[in-house]
């Protein structure tokens, strides 16, 4: 079978299929389990300065087209999280710490307090006041925060972008100027669902973010645009639920992919996606590098 080993965003990965942030990422044991199930790397739940319980429920609702969620960044704070990262590492795949804060200082404090194989800056969560996309939609803030963390850490720093802006490429370029090793696109798309029996918004937070199959075409477009404009690698996430989706994302320009919502069908999906990519490459007589960005080269 074709090897899938290679560099993704400054990490040498066994395969480019990763566990996305916020999915089974709260405990070291579940991160390890995802690694053992075949994830080339695992990204933690987003971790911040102080413990947060998250929003009242419902935190997630399964709509036919995808998942709508507003968890509200529940996390035990970086002070309680190093042990989980260390346990996660025993799964044999790199552990990427997803972190959030409300200012460059907070990001630096969290990053400084954790030892991980890479960092992913959550500048894109659409439903936590004062965090995530609220600062991540300003190119100037993205650049400043990226630069601050890059200065603090010697490992790769990825910046996860929000699609809830007119121009995601401007954000990507800011991350690149700030010294990011890679960008990750996309986080969830602002969305809402209402209970027609009662008129209540279903999510406890009333509004949230959409993920899953519905957002894949949006993610593919974002990755394509980012790959065309940036010189740093792009990691694709959004709606990937089978190997064909992953291949499509890689053709759009992703050098690696992350899988989130599709894990609701079980952890086997990780291996099934990477095996599918391998078989595809065998059938085509191609290497992974030939696929990356292929769509941009086809005229």
């Amino acid at each position: 079978m074709a090897t899938l080993r290679g560099d993704v965003g400054g990490l040498e990965l066994e395969n480019p299929v990763m566990l996305a942030a916020g999915i089974l990422g709260t405990t070291g044991a579940s991160l390890r389990r995802a690694a053992l199930a075949g994830a080339g790397a695992v990204v933690t739940k987003s971790i911040g300065i102080e413990p947060r319980d998250g929003h009242p429920g419902p935190g997630i609702v399964h709509l036919g087209v995808g998942l709508l969620n507003a968890m509200g960044l529940p996390n035990p704070s970086y002070r309680e999280f190093q042990e989980e990262i260390d346990i996660g590492r025993t799964g044999g795949s790199p552990v990427v710490a997803s972190i959030f804060g409300s200012s460059p200082e907070e990001f630096v404090e969290v990053a400084g307090g954790l030892d991980a194989d890479a960092f992913e800056l959550n500048l894109s969560c659409p439903h936590a006041q004062g965090y995530g996309a609220e600062i991540g939609c300003h190119p100037g803030d993205v650049e400043e925060i990226t630069r601050a963390v890059v200065r603090e850490k010697s490992v790769p720093v990825w910046v996860k972008l929000t699609p809830n802006v007119a121009d995601i490429v401007a954000l990507g370029l800011s991350a690149e100027r700030g010294g990011a090793t890679a960008v990750v696109a996309i986080n969830t798309i602002k969305a809402m669902a209402i209970d027609v029996e009662s008129g209540y918004p279903i999510l406890g937070n009333r509004v949230g973010g959409l993920s899953g199959p519905a957002i894949k075409p949006v993610a593919v477009r974002c990755v394509y645009d980012l790959h065309s404009a940036l010189s740093i690698p792009v990691i694709g996430v959004g709606g990937i639920s089978c190997w064909q989706d992953a291949v499509e994302m890689i053709m759009a320009g992703a050098s690696g992919v992350q899988v989130g919502s599709a894990l609701s069908g079980g952890l086997d999906i990780l291996k099934s996606i990477s095996n599918g990519i391998s078989r595809y490459l065998d059938r085509k007589g191609m290497a992974l590098a030939d696929l990356s960005g292929l769509a941009g080269r086809q005229r």
Binding site: L24, T26, G54, G57, S264
Partner: protein
């Protein structure tokens, strides 16, 4: 799945802090041990075991359960489920061991078992006689041994004292639900029989569909909301069960009860 709207048809006050809430949906078809995510609109969404095909039995402990307590027949709820793995019925002589409101899913299991001709013995522990629920329901199923912490009814003391009256070899399968330290105590004492015990485990659920990770247990990362809540006791011997549990933020804290 979106929460399905149901209407409350009957509320039974079991004790001053426990109510059984019956709703009108007959389509859920749960197995005993499975649970639902109960949306109290405008308040929160919390996991509840089925105590019958279309009912739950709720102890008021906090904001969401107290909000459930304020509802009246005719009021609406949103339900997702049934979710998770229920109890699997094995053999023809079973023992139910419950503590407090943990009696709820066991009573449902007992009803189903009895219907199939399985012999049911129950050992139920409560804090005091006022807290006892489902006494008649368990008596109808077969032998019932009661314990109360304050000695006001049945054997005085913890549930584990009741174990001394029972021979584990008599039973084809043993089902446990209650406060974690009570379950831990029972499993520890009857460790040699752990291979035929199933426990309904309580962790902090948020999504109910096995992706958010808040209910994962050490050391395997088992997702209690999907691969549980009923877990074979042998899988609970080494790890966090009985030692600690994570709260809503993911921080570790002491197990309850």
């Amino acid at each position: 799945m979106r929460p399905s709207p149901v209407r409350i048809v009957e509320i039974i006050e079991e004790t001053s802090t426990v109510k059984t809430i019956r709703f009108d949906s007959a389509r859920l078809d749960p197995l005993p041990g499975q649970y639902m995510m109960v949306w109290i609109r405008g308040v929160d969404e919390i996991p509840m075991s089925f105590s019958g095909p279309s009912e739950m039995t709720v102890a008021a402990v906090g904001e969401a359960t107290r909000a459930l307590f304020r509802l009246r027949p005719g009021d609406g709820l949103g339900l997702r489920g049934p979710y998770g793995n229920g109890f699997s019925l094995i053999g023809d002589r079973i023992l139910l061991i419950g503590g407090g409101v943990g009696a709820a899913p066991l009573a449902f299991l007992g009803d189903v078992a009895r219907h199939k001709g399985i012999e049911v013995t129950s050992l139920m522990g409560f804090r005091c006689s006022e807290d006892i629920i489902f006494k008649r329901r368990f008596e109808r199923l077969g032998e019932l041994i009661l314990t109360t912490d304050d000695g006001s009814s049945g054997i005085p003391g913890r549930v584990s004292l009741g174990l001394e009256r029972l021979d584990p070899d008599r039973f084809s399968q043993i089902y446990i639900c209650g406060p974690e330290l009570m379950m831990w105590d029972v499993i520890e004492r009857w460790k040699d029989h752990a291979g035929k015990m199933q426990a309904s485990v309580n962790r902090h659920f948020k999504c109910g569909i096995g992706i958010c990770g808040s209910c994962c247990m050490d050391p395997t990362g088992i997702r209690v909301c999907q691969e549980g809540p009923v877990i074979p006791a042998v899988q609970l011997l080494e790890g966090e069960f009985g030692r600690y549990r994570r709260g809503p933020s993911g921080s570790r804290g002491p197990p309850r009860g």
